[in-house]
Amino acid sequence: MIELDRAGRSFKVRRSLKLKGNLVHAVCDLSFTVAPGEFVGYLGPNGAGKSTTIKMLCGILTPTSGRVRVAGLDPSRKRTTLARRIGVVFGQRTTLWWDLPLRDSFELIRLLYKVDRKVFKTRLDELIETLDLGAFTRTPVRQLSLGQRMRGDLAAALLHAPDVLVLDEPTIGLDVVSKSSIRAFLRRLNAEQGTTVLLTTHDLGDIERLCRRVMLIDHGRLAFDGTLDELMATAPEQSTIEDVVTRLYTGSR
Amino acid sequence: MAARASFIALRIAGRKADNSWLPSADPRAGPGTVRHRAITLRRCKTIPLYARLVRYGFRKHATYVWAAVAGAFTNSVFGILRAYILIALWQARPGLAGYDVTQAVTFCFITQALIGPMQLFGTGLAIPERIRSGDIALDLVRPASLLLWSLSEDLGRACYLFLVRGIPPMLLGAALFGVTHPAGPGQWLAFLVSFLAGMVASFGWRYLVSLSVCWLIDERGVGAFSLVLTILFSGMLLPLSLFPGLLGELARALPWAAMVQAPTDLYLGKAPVLETLAFQGCWAAALLAAGALGTRAIRHKVVIQGG
């Protein structure tokens, strides 16, 4: 479903007014495959290249080297075709329209994705029920609480029934209740509909409760790729997942 | 004034600002901090506070270098286009309004240079935003006048924009078409005083427009209204002496004439100095007085509404 072959993305960073800049490799020679139906956690310290990877997956950034395929498509060349098959959620910012009520945002999405009105209605009702959005569909997005907004964002990303769901820190800043309801929803989505999910997070609870497979990226390179059990096995017995990840983060520095 | 502010700002450029003692505009500063600072403030003299605010306003805008360069470029392009229109008009009517062609071109570039400092498009003040967010209550509890506070910052901003967005188009105009300059130090001085008076008048008007947000649901109406009046009656499109009949007389008597037409006339030496300065002074004083009344009114309103 997702395929990266020695993909890389570098940026020219200019310091103030100087014309010549340094080349910074945000992602470097990254290769991995995600099979359909997998639920993968994508970990890494801040600035490791997680967001860059995700942006390459949905076609926002064009890779400077290597090959990226999502659902068999080259994201940067077939961005709009791919968009119908992929759902994206950014935890740090909303993909909804700030001044519009949630319902109008969904309507815009229906138009953008050309979802059939009837199909849309059933899906929306379903999502409103499972994500418990009923109470605030008429509220402008800017007035929603973070937890409400995130559930709205999730619904928006799923209205067109994508095969792949990419989540960039979906639980950031959420309270315990919101977190667990979102986790339960994602687990059901993956299990019942077979949606492939790639999730970045700093919350190791997300990883423990959701992901069968974990990938760890650091300095733009893959530092670990395996199951959660394999990850735990790299450390002495009785270590918590925090210990393991801390070791990996600091050890690779 | 302009020269002094720029000199100071150039000297301190790059050094970290030492204005930590100023009452902060930061909404997180609690009432305790404000009170504490109020005591310090009363001890210091008032003039240094406002002088420092001028500096601060100047520096605040100096951080947006690229925006200013872009503004200078855009001002230059529009200046050139406007200059051609005026040249064509003066070729058809030599000596119109007592200007020759070079003076008409000079008029065009001076008025372009005044767009930034007089903030002819939009208010350029943070007040509407702060009224809408309710932060204005914090500004009002300061032991310094909101009017003078904003005026000082605005003068700093105006000086910066004049230097960075005003002078380059002027130089370009001089290179392309040739412009005149004041005949002697007296005329330069008259222009500078008039420029300052124009800035105060412009601020006075924009301050009133900004305060009006407090009583309106949709402030865009007043904004657009102010924009049309300012563009038409300040003289930034055409010299006001070209306006026919009553319209012309009206335009020359309204406050907007004090912002662009008056300083430009004094630069070109086309108007009696004292009379023009008195005209500007009257409008500046009247607008500031209205602003003071307006401040009192919003203070009252904010107190009643509880912020």
């Binding site: 909303t94 953008l112 050309k114 | 690229w66 925006a67 529009f78 058809a92 009517r93 070209l242």
Partner: protein
Amino acid sequence: MVRSYFLLAWTWTRAAMAYPASFALTTVLGLFVAGTDVAVILIIFANTTSLAGFSREETLFLYGTANLAFCLCDLFVSNVDRISQHIKAGTFDTMLIRPVSAWIQLATDRFLPTRAGRVLQAAIVLGYAISALDLGSGRLWMVPVMIATGVVIFGALWTLAGALQFVLTDAPEVTNAFTYGSGQLTQYPLAIYGRDLVRGVTYALPLAFINWQPALYVLDRDDPFGTPGFMRFLGPVAALVLALLAGSAWRLGIRHYRSTGS
């Protein structure tokens, strides 16, 4: 493409019409703001009967044709030049994950139907100029052609302005000089400008084809700069070339887009 454009624009229109009083007010005020340009022309012609050999009605004809095209683009395309704000706010990323071209989403984002007031104002001026000039009906076919040409050229300019902002994210105002500057330039007979400037806007940036060249044909006048007669009909070609250029610049911009933040 066209369908998604209008569906999106309609959604924003509906949102704007939720406040009818404000909607009506901004429409009317837009009319007045745009009216200042006409006021300038009228004041100029209160002082002279001809400007560089062109009468008041001829100038209003040029103003009307250029401004009608300009205001149509202002209504339908100009939001594209807010791209730098979207890039800075990160909302441009969101547009790129949608299955509709980013250009269409930008152009319709916060679509302001109230700008239609300006289109109306331009149309009124043009209508007045055509009736006052008493033009022979034989050449009037050129008027819709030149307006369509103008719309394409201005639209291409705005697209170029947007593409340029991928590079000039910190100084988007530079692009105003090209878009709004072109709108200002074409309001007057090009005869008033210097020869080099007119050459530039004929052969480099084809602004002369928005209204000047075709208008010379409609008004049945010779070009004071002496360009050959066939140039009057080159507008659509120039528009097409500029549009293709703008399209590739836009695509290049998207390919080299560097998303900011996390």
